[in-house]
Symmetry: C2
Amino acid sequence: MTRKGRRLAADAGDTSAEVDFGQLSQSLGYALRRAQLAVFKNFRDTFASLDVTPAQYSVLLVIGRNPGLKQTQVSDALNIKRANFVALIDALERRGLAERTAATDRRSYALYLTASGRKLLKTLDALNAVHEDKVAASIGQERRAQLLALLSALTAPLDGGEIDDESEMGTAG
Amino acid sequence: MTRKGRRLAADAGDTSAEVDFGQLSQSLGYALRRAQLAVFKNFRDTFASLDVTPAQYSVLLVIGRNPGLKQTQVSDALNIKRANFVALIDALERRGLAERTAATDRRSYALYLTASGRKLLKTLDALNAVHEDKVAASIGQERRAQLLALLSALTAPLDGGEIDDESEMGTAG
DNA sequence: GATATTGATTATAGCGTATAACGATTTTGA
DNA sequence: TCAAAATCGTTATACGCTATAATCAATATC
C-alpha cells in the first residue's frame, strides 16, 4: 500500500494519530533537505573515527588536487566565506595535515598538504568510496547517476544564471 | 577533452587557474548540499516579502492540516527538537498566526491556526506552488517527479532502516 | 500513594554562515 | 612616482539552526 502523503505514527497518541504532510510530500526543497541530512549523517558516521567533517574533507581534497592555491581560491571554490575559512585551515594545519607557505604575493599563502596530509587523504578517499557505495546501495549505481545528473541540472540554473520571471517554464522535458 | 571534474574559473589568478574538484564532482552528498542550498535560497527569496522561513511554513502547513496536535507531535513529525520548537511556535503565536489552546492533558497544548493564520497559509501555499514551479522550470515536471522519487528512495533507507554492513550493495538497479 | 514518565520550557553550547573592519601588501592610474 | 583603490588574510561579532541537560507541572504506572 503506497500512501501518497508521507505519514508518521505518533509515538505519543497511541491511537490512529498520523500526521498529514500535505504539499510537503511533493516539495523538492523538503525532500532535498531530508536527503542531504541523511547522507551527511552517513558521511559523519563513516568519517567519525578519523574525526573529519565533510567540509574538512572537501578542503583536503581540493588542496591535494590543486597544490599551491591561496586561501581565497579554495574558499571561493567551495563556497566558504574567506573569513570562515581561516579557522578551518587553522585546524588542518594544527593537525599537521596542511600548511600555509610563503607565496610570491606576500599578502597570501600557498596551501599544500603535508606528507601526513597526503597519506590521510588517501584513506579518506577510500572511506569516501565506501560511504558513496553505502549511500548508493539503496538506489543502485544507475539511479545514482541519474540522481547526480538531475541534481546538477537543478542546481546550475538556480545557482549561477538567474531564472527569468518571464521565461516559459514547465515544459523542459 | 571533456573534463569530468567540475571546474571553476579563479577570479584571482587571471591565467589558467581552474580548480579540480576530483571526486567531489561525483559526490551525492556534495551535489545534494548544493542543490538544497540553491532551492532554499529560492524559497527564501520567494517568501521574503511575507517574512516566512521554510521551517515556519512547514509548521503552519502541518498545524493547518492537523489541527489540535500537541507541540511534541508537530516537532517530531518535522524532526525539530521540542526544545527548539518553543521559540518557533512562540513567534507564530506572537504574529497571531497560530495559538496554543488548553488540552485535556493539561501538560500539553493543542495547536491551531487562527483565522489570520489560515488566510496566510492559503497565500503561502500559492507562493509555494510558484516556488516549486520556478525550481522545476530547469528540469521540467517529468524529471522533477523522477527526482522526488529518487530522493525518497535514497532517504528512506538511510533515515529509518539501518543499512546492514554485511548486506550486498551496489547492484540494486 | 510513591515512582516513573511525559510535555513544555529554560539555559546553554556548538556549528555554520554572514558582515564589517583592520593591517599588510600589491595594483592602479593620474 | 605616488596617492588611491583593490586584494589577502585575519579578527570580531552576530544570527540561525541544532543538540543536551535540567526543571516544573501534570499524568501514568504499579
